[in-house]
Amino acid sequence: MTVRLSRRHVAGLLSASTALGMIGLPLRRAWAAETITVLNWQGYGTDEKWALQAFTKATGIAVQHDYYSSEPEMITKLRTNPGAYDVAVVNSARTQQLQAEDLLMPLDLSRIPNAVGLTPALRDNPNIHIDGKAYGCAWVWGYNAIAYRQPGIQTPDSYKIFQDPAYEGRLALLDDATNSVAIGALLTAQDMNDPKDLTAVSEQLKAMKKNLKLLWSSEDQWNKGFEAKAFDLAVYWSGASVRSRRTYKLPLGFTAPKEGAIGWFDTLGVPSSSTKAEAALAFVNYMIDPAFYVEWATKVGAPASANGSAMEKLPADDLNRTTHDPALFKSMQFMGPLPDERRQAFADLWEETKAFYAR
């Protein structure tokens, strides 16, 4: 245990106390001419302070945030707060559902200058195109695959390793029905968005019981668990794996197995009830700007940008860039929209599997 006390430490302590002491005082907030509200996960790119300052400086538009912690919650907030949001970060798998409820407005991508650089596989993805109109601007993408402790574990080439008795009690799975079903589907060579044989999926997942140590649901939990050596093998998000390796120096490897990674991409959508569409589009444009992206990716750590030209601005050996190799697009399936019945079937399957794990 090393204890180093410097003047900086003391100053930090003092300033924090002072700040807390002043809690009674109202904090001044500078209001710009126009303020837009963004609905997003917390700490997910759009709320980087330095970026917002730059954006406000450039456009005169101020940005405030509201957060969600699950996709249904995002949908609920959009429904129950018409007019409150101007930009929403929407998983492309949800776009059709939102469009069906008239919660999103179609975007004219030609009015977003930076959209020209977007990777076509994402920009024109059927997830976000309905009747020839784009209901969102592809923003970032990533994939879920296998993270493993290094050194010690050879680069796994298959999800089968999750069932390998050598890793008893060393596995962490993502507590998410769609992702888990996808793994089961990929293991049984099925379409991960529409597996016909759910029994086989369930069997594959249940075979991981002996290895399973915990179900994680947040990056924080993952990092702290990995740091504490609670598990050695896990499903993980590609972007988070970059942060874990780069920011927290966690000794992990990350690989897409031969069955394929589970791809996803998030879009920036404009709620149909927004009255500040112009400002919203300006913000969307800024969010896919290569300059912003490079700073976000290198300073903070980000998922891969949907803007291919932004990715190319990263150094060739950049961890984020190597992790999000465009070659993956060839083999990777993206999570697609799910009809309610199928979503429920997935949820039931996962719930039953979890109950099996708990027994």
């Binding site: 180093r4 430490h9 924090a16 700040a19 807390l20 912690s69 990056e219 924080d220 939990q221």
Partner: protein, 259 residues
């Protein structure tokens, strides 16, 4: 016997404070992932000083918690008086009706409130959170004050009335002083319930207005830095100082004795 009692009490306090000690220790640990070995650092306090959102939301939490404690304690004490002291039809049902606020998982109540407040135009924000928090705290107050009321004999109030007190005066002159420890405990509970509440607050928070637990809850996704430990440790420290000051300066030392 007293030695055994003291030792046991010490054990209970150790149990209650084990995670608190860890929490405070991690506020001073350099690692953002609570990593060992421990490396002393005040960086999180420094980071906290520059985090207006976190400080702002902490202030909001305290304001809501104090208001919740005051309102819930007044309402709950009144209801508890009626439920304990009056006989009327449907009393058992009214008691049972106190259970849903604590029995229904927060996520359901939160969603339900969000929808209902949306439909009725109550909306979200400070006032909506306050409505929600008070409702959740009321059952705690009613139960705790009710427990205390069982120890304050009815005939004391009757005696006061027979001596010329109106029911209100009898309450303030006799029942209230005897009930003070229970009411204080109930207020502390209500305060804690509000300070702990993240799900409902989360649903009812507006873009510009959130509370500390909401910040923590949303931060969990990405990774909550020990800044949160730092502010919690500071709050804890201030509470301890406040309590010490309160106990030393006031005659409150006697309140738990009077009976």
């Amino acid at each position: 016997m007293t030695h055994v009692a003291r030792a046991f009490l010490l054990g209970v306090l150790l149990f209650l404070y084990a995670p608190i000690i860890v929490m405070v220790a991690m506020a001073f640990n350099a690692s953002p992932l609570y990593a060992m070995p421990f490396e002393f650092s005040t960086r999180w306090f420094g980071a906290l000083a520059g985090d207006a959102v976190l400080i702002d939301s902490t202030r909001n939490s305290l304001v809501i918690a104090v208001l919740t404690a005051v309102i819930a304690t007044i309402l709950g004490t009144a209801a508890s008086l009626a439920l304990e002291r009056k006989r009327f039809m449907g009393r058992a049902i009214l008691r049972i009706l106190l259970l849903p606020p604590i029995a229904i998982p927060w996520i359901i109540s939160g969603t339900a409130m969000l929808l209902f407040f949306f439909w009725t135009g109550i909306g979200r924000g400070f006032h909506a959170m306050l409505i929600g928090h008070v409702a959740l705290a009321i059952p705690y107050v009613v139960l705790v004050v009710g427990t205390g009321l069982k120890n304050v004999r009815v005939d004391l109030e009757e005696a006061a009335q027979s001596l010329g007190s109106t029911p209100l005066h009898a309450f303030f002159a006799v029942t209230l002083p005897l009930l003070a420890p229970s009411i204080a405990a109930a207020a502390l509970f209500a305060f804690a319930v509000s300070l702990d509440q993240f799900v409902i607050s989360y649903f009812l928070a507006t873009p510009g207005y959130s509370t500390l637990p909401v910040q923590i809850y949303t931060a969990i996704r990405k990774g909550f830095t020990p800044e949160i430990n730092a502010i919690s440790a500071l709050l804890l420290g201030f509470s301890m100082l406040a309590i010490l000051a309160f106990v030393c300066l006031s005659k409150a030392g006697g309140t738990l004795e009077r009976r």
